[in-house]
Amino acid sequence: MSIFTRRRAGSRIVAPSDLDRQLRHSLHAIAAAMPERPALPDRAAGDRAHGRTRRRTALALAALAIPLTAAGYLLGPEYVDQIPPKNSLLIGDAHGERYWMIPGRVSDDCGQPISAVELVVEDRNTVGEEWNTMGISYGDPNVRQANATLCGVDESAWLADPSRFAWGHVKTAGDRIYLVAMHPTVKSIKVVTTVSTETIATVPTPARPDGPRYAAFDVPESATSIIASLLDAAGQPVPGGERDLTKRS
């Protein structure tokens, strides 16, 4: 199994009351100093439409919602270009915090996907900023001894044992969102916490419809035990396929 994260870091401290005061003062000052006329730029095509909208609305307050110009710019793969992301395999909602499981996009030194799937949490991924996702794969990473680089994963030992599975999680405000990688025969996963019991369907990636399967789900941060049980196509537990996700295997 391999899990990776892409995230930014850092932290220092400033007195909260100073920051409160500074923010309040600055925002009011900025609002009061708002430019009188739009300083304008290079939006030749859009200007006419916006001008028309303003005139029409000012005259009649008519109910004409003119969408702002849609852009179709190409971004580098390291930046969030669209939320919700394209090609999501699962959509979740953890008390208002949306998240998506998508096919993995990051390649290792051999051009193989580092992770089969990635978890995109809306709060951590803003359009125009760098991706901040967690990925997971099924199998053991192949490490080339010569130069200690990664080259794909070895699934053989995992495929021989349907009870093996990998998981990782991210924390949000009040919840944990789990990402799980399982054997191709595992069709659903039952999750029992101190507050709820849920059964979540697993899905394969589009590239390998008969390959390993994946799931994402959220549980309350306060859950002291999270018992995950793998279920086969008949809904029967996979022998040995039960773990407490709060404990590392």
């Binding site: 220092r12 100093a33 430019p35 006329r37 739009p38 300083a39 702002l68 852009a71 998506w100 019991t197």
Partner: protein, 186 residues
């Protein structure tokens, strides 16, 4: 075997549309110091609150031009159903906040396409302009929470109502925003 969960997690297929920004809802639970009571005609609300709403939109978008568009669109959207809106100003604020989010997404693409956004000084007072520059770089929802809390002086519960998000999440957004700003400003 129990039925796989559908409510919170649903399977999505390539090409299927996932989610869209919900249209503004009536704000029966939102109260605001600027609320017009009894209900005022749209022309009066427009005249009395346009500048305040424009400033809110400006703080959310950083652009006077976009702010003008948002305010006009908010009034245009509200106009046809004016009689059913109990509190026009909170309704308009909510519409502006929601529409600004869409605009922000598109602007983020445009900014990136043009390499980096330039942050123009507004007040010529370095401390204020620097703070404003960092506020503009916050993710949209964090920025909206900061603006609604520190400029509009709304409590977190009302902000949660406007943003249609749980109060705990809004609290978390605010905390993250303050953490970012604290790091940036020191």
């Amino acid at each position: 075997m129990s039925e796989p969960r559908r409510a919170a997690i649903s399977q999505n297929f390539p090409g299927e549309k996932c989610n869209e920004t919900p249209p503004p809802k009536d704000l029966s639970v939102v109260t605001d110091a600027q609320t017009s009571t009894p209900p005022a005609p749209p022309e009066l609300v427009y005249r009395e609150h346009r500048v305040g709403l424009l400033r809110l939109a400006y703080l959310l978008t950083g652009s006077r031009e976009h702010a003008e568009d948002l305010v006009q669109q908010a009034f245009a959207t509200a106009f046809n159903r004016w009689s059913s809106i109990e509190e026009p100003v909170p309704y308009l604020k909510r519409a502006i906040v929601n529409m600004a989010q869409d605009a922000h997404r598109r602007n983020a693409r445009a900014r990136l396409f043009n390499l980096r956004a330039r942050v123009e000084p507004v007040t010529e007072q370095p401390e204020i302009d620097e703070t404003w520059a960092y506020v503009q770089r916050l993710p949209y929802r964090q920025r909206a929470v900061v603006v609604l809390h520190y400029y509009s002086d709304l409590p977190l519960q009302q902000i949660a109502d406007i943003l249609s998000r749980p109060a705990a999440t809004v609290r978390s957004d605010l905390r993250r925003a303050l953490d970012r700003l604290r790091r940036a400003l020191t």
